[in-house]
Point group: C2
Amino acid sequence: MSLLVIGTLAYDTIETIHTRRIDVLGGSAMYFSIAAGMFVPVQLVAVVGRDFRPQDLELLKKSNIDTSGVEHADGRTFRWSGRYESDWNTRHTLETQLNVFEKFEPKVPTAMRAATWVFLANAAPKVQMRALDQVTKPKFTVVDTMNLWIDTARADLLHLLRRVDAVVLNDEEARMLTGERNLIKAAGAVLGLGPRYVILKKGEHGAFLLGKDVHFSLPAYPIGDVVDPTGAGDSFAGGFMGHIAEQGNVNPETLRQAMLYGTVSASWCVQGFGIEALAGRTRREIDARYDDLRAICTVP
Amino acid sequence: MSLLVIGTLAYDTIETIHTRRIDVLGGSAMYFSIAAGMFVPVQLVAVVGRDFRPQDLELLKKSNIDTSGVEHADGRTFRWSGRYESDWNTRHTLETQLNVFEKFEPKVPTAMRAATWVFLANAAPKVQMRALDQVTKPKFTVVDTMNLWIDTARADLLHLLRRVDAVVLNDEEARMLTGERNLIKAAGAVLGLGPRYVILKKGEHGAFLLGKDVHFSLPAYPIGDVVDPTGAGDSFAGGFMGHIAEQGNVNPETLRQAMLYGTVSASWCVQGFGIEALAGRTRREIDARYDDLRAICTVP
């Protein structure tokens, strides 16, 4: 009953209205793994360059993450740089250097191919597909994507969507994918593309889950001081999948709980630069905030 | 244990991307009363001009609303006209004609001065204050306001806020009033201005209630086809206060339920032009949607 993630490890340069940080440890699979590793052991498939810092690999290992699927390739690690406006919702990508990720051919180690729970973090749909092809019998596969792929690799993405159980999208991506402005209509349209579930993330406005047997809407956890929203979506996915893997099922009750855990992971993520706030958390802190969130959202 | 509202009755001209309607029956007290009248009898204090249509007064009377506090003044009824962008969140006010509302001196009839539950719908804070002065011993007073008064009558508004139990604000108003961009911080700052509770409305993103003994956050009811968002906030307030008046208390449990009823009233409101969708509802339909909303938001 293992949890496998395929995605990026990166060094990000992040500018906020308050400060600028260079070579912050990040990447979709990084955030996901740190969040999910608080629930279950995580199997990670990714690629890094020769410049990947040994202490960053150590951090992964210490965080309940099996790094035997991390390939060390010649060249530099994937780099992204971006700037946030004061409202945190507006993000400008300043530069993307694919580096070793450009020719990344995901190789799922033999021992990881029997994974039960699979998260395909944001990457070209063809790369995601080739990773999924190597997993023998996943029970529940979730895919993430981004506007770039919706725009430039739509056919591949639509093909992939027919092979996965769930997709996580933010509001903008859901609108782009379906052409529906209204988010509840957009989510309904996404279900028509194949997945059994869609998780629609709205940042500070919360998230909702739509599927045939479940419709669940949840506000975000209120955070007074956002430091850096980078990785919030991947952290959400990590908490979500981590709880599912720990429970060992995708019953509606488990899925609802997973939405709360995803929300909690994302809320810790945005309280520090990169993974620094999230990675420092204990399971006890995660659960305490889960209880807080539950109290804030409990309907009479 | 009666519910009193002081506010506007109006004829609105509303433009959406789909259509344009002239002289649509509206006004803050109209929406509030129609929503609240499904729970308890409503006592209405307002002013209309000689052009106010008899059938519109009849509609109020048929809707559980005591119109003996509606003054008929010489001149034309208050008129507002506005245009919505395709995202529904951007609203341009095209024209405001105060007309008979310009010299409105609220006169609360003697029989209504013992009101227990009071809603001061959006008006100049001085007018709201003069209305409140006539109520002998309200148990729970809620005030609404708008950016215009925050900007031009801040001192009056701050004075009023120290005399009420709760304030309803939208996200923009909360930010303007407090200078805090983050909404949870803004809500906290509003509590510092006097009210025991703040209800912060975020349109399609839901609403939250913050007070000393309660913090409750709720997503909006998902509506696929918005027709006209005019009056959604006042309808929210109507459902909210209607339930409180019906229950006869402001326990945390009642307040949470009231947030759901407010959300339900607002969701019906936006499904038609003006009050047409909301006014046609039965209590059974309100309660059925309450149950729907509850199901969508029930945390595990």
